[in-house]
Subunit: 152 residues, 2 copies
């Protein structure tokens, strides 16, 4: 038996509502998930991308910490609950078509990545020239390359 429950978040009535509405109407995908990018409140660095379902998003809003849905483990996880690398929500945004969230966090501990790196994006690729070689496992992850934030 499937247990139906009330949706936690509203649906946008139409494209205009989706693009211009000022009430969060997240568009979860077929698996009930929405991508959530987290960035560091102080540096602006992109830390990680993980997935929320409606309940994870509700918990995030309620607790002020980031909650996600693990696709591999099929369970909720609160970032840092085990590692101590907690994330405290300082601001949050939704995108023009409502299918991605951006969560600005204060990052506790060593960083956001389970490998111990500050950001999950610690490896560069492509031939963008100097700066695409990863330097440290932290700030270099995002500012690198010509015109990188830290140097321009």
């Amino acid at each position: 038996m499937t247990i139906m429950r009330e949706p936690i978040f509203p649906k946008a009535p139409d494209t205009r509502g989706l693009e211009r509405g000022t009430v969060l109407a997240p568009r979860f995908d077929a698996a009930g998930l929405i991508a959530a990018v987290t960035t560091h409140a102080e540096t602006g660095e992109v830390l990680m991308l993980a997935w929320m379902n409606d309940e994870a998003l509700r918990r995030t809003l309620e607790t002020g910490r980031t909650w996600f849905w693990s696709r591999s483990r099929q369970e909720y996880w609160c970032k840092g609950e085990t590692s101590g690398d907690r994330q405290w929500v300082r601001a949050a945004y939704y995108d023009c078509d409502g299918d991605t969230l951006l969560v600005v966090v204060e990052q506790e501990g060593a960083g956001a990545c389970h490998t111990g790196a500050h950001s999950c994006f610690f490896r560069a690729f492509g031939a963008g020239g100097a700066g695409t070689t990863p330097g440290s496992a932290s700030a270099a992850a995002n500012g690198g390359g010509a015109g990188g934030r830290a140097t321009s």
Copy 2:
């Protein structure tokens, strides 16, 4: 008839290869897609999230502009080809488990968002306190909130 072709990118041999390997081994999802976050090379601002398949990623690397796969239109698109809001790749990163890309770009024109906003993340939600109310449609999108990059 399904036409098989050689994969464009290698697969990581195992978890260690995935997390520590220094050659890009993107993990495309069941639909053959990988999430690509773009950020502004000068400000660090998160501009948008879109999806690449292997060929879009190949084109991005080859041309130095961002190519995506449109899930709604089921076609390739080169960012800015119609609008003029082109993105020039300055650096690119892959994350710890190889299923998200971060592309640092120079953004031409008005911005990255099809609505005319500089960033797609121009609307705040939640009760993070002062600063979660969207200010302008550009820089406020990412720095907002206590400890936002621009103010800390």
